[in-house]
């Protein structure tokens, strides 16, 4: 196995991310998004972050994308109902994003110093056992608060989407 796997996965990630943005049909956008998430899951795997890979697979590809696809189909969106910006605004958006990219890439390349290849200090930190120890010792309070956040989000979503009876 060589490091070209990383570059292949990066290419797939960026390619499908571009397709998400430029696909005409929202359903196609959502399906390309699933491919992007799959490539990102593989990125976590080659970083040896196995817990994150599994959580990304279940939460993003499983839960979030199913939710988004479900609402696209529920609202019956397709290419005919897709609102389009004028081509001038689209052009302006692409130019602005390109300028942002130029700034970021220029800053990173000019800063330098990060060209040293990876040296894994402790390659086992991404495993479930070690991450669980950190999560339930240092980050116990945020973890419990996250559960309250998820509960309130669930209640809020049900309340918002409920039809008004009166």
């Amino acid at each position: 196995m060589s490091h070209s796997l990383f570059y292949l996965l990066s290419f797939i990630t960026l390619f499908f991310a571009l397709l998400v943005v430029f696909a005409k049909n929202p359903i196609h956008s959502a399906l390309y998004m699933v491919m992007t998430f799959f490539a990102i899951t593989c990125q976590y795997l080659i970083l040896n972050a196995q817990f994150l890979a599994i959580v990304n697979f279940i939460v993003y590809m499983g839960a979030i994308m199913v939710l988004i696809l479900f609402s696209i189909m529920f609202l019956n969106l397709n290419q005919d109902t897709e609102p389009q910006k004028s081509s001038l605004l689209k052009f302006a958006g692409v130019i602005s994003a390109g300028l942002l990219m130029l700034t970021l890439v220029g800053a990173i390349v000019k800063t330098g110093g990060g060209d040293v290849p990876f040296e894994l200090v402790n390659s086992n930190i991404g495993l479930v056992k070690n991450l669980g120890k950190v999560l339930f010792n240092e980050f116990l309070l945020p973890f419990e608060i996250a559960s309250v956040l998820l509960l309130s989000a669930m209640v809020g979503a049900v309340l918002l989407a409920k039809k008004d009876i009166n």
Binding site: V20, L67, L75, T81, P83, A97, N130, G156
Partner: protein
């Protein structure tokens, strides 16, 4: 396990930063170019994922598990955000029969 660690040992951290910034830029472009509220949501997810990749890469690079715990929390918050956001979008669609964000310009004061 040896092969996995060999793979990333050949990749400089700079390339991870470049990948994350390109992915973030694509997300920004999606927010600027599209008018469909759900596609804008997906672009925001792309931006969150760019940050996630960067945090995981730095965490592996420094050998510190805190970065990966942060990624886990970002994922939890993103799940909550998507649930509430999609509920809002469905409610907007029910009232205006459209998910075009330009219809919402009545919100401005």
């Amino acid at each position: 396990m040896g092969t996995v660690t060999q793979t990333i040992q050949a990749v400089p951290i700079n390339h991870y930063i470049l990948l994350a910034s390109l992915l973030f830029t694509i997300g920004v472009m999606g927010v600027l170019v599209r008018r469909n509220a759900i596609v804008i949501f997906m672009s925001i997810e792309l931006m969150l994922n760019a940050v996630n990749i960067l945090l995981a890469a730095f965490s592996a690079y420094r050998g510190d598990a805190s970065g990966q715990v942060f990624v886990f929390f970002i994922m939890a918050v993103a799940a909550a955000e998507v649930a509430v956001g999609l509920a809002i979008i469905v409610m907007i669609y029910r009232n205006t029969r459209s998910i075009d964000i330009n219809i919402l310009n009545k919100l401005k004061g």
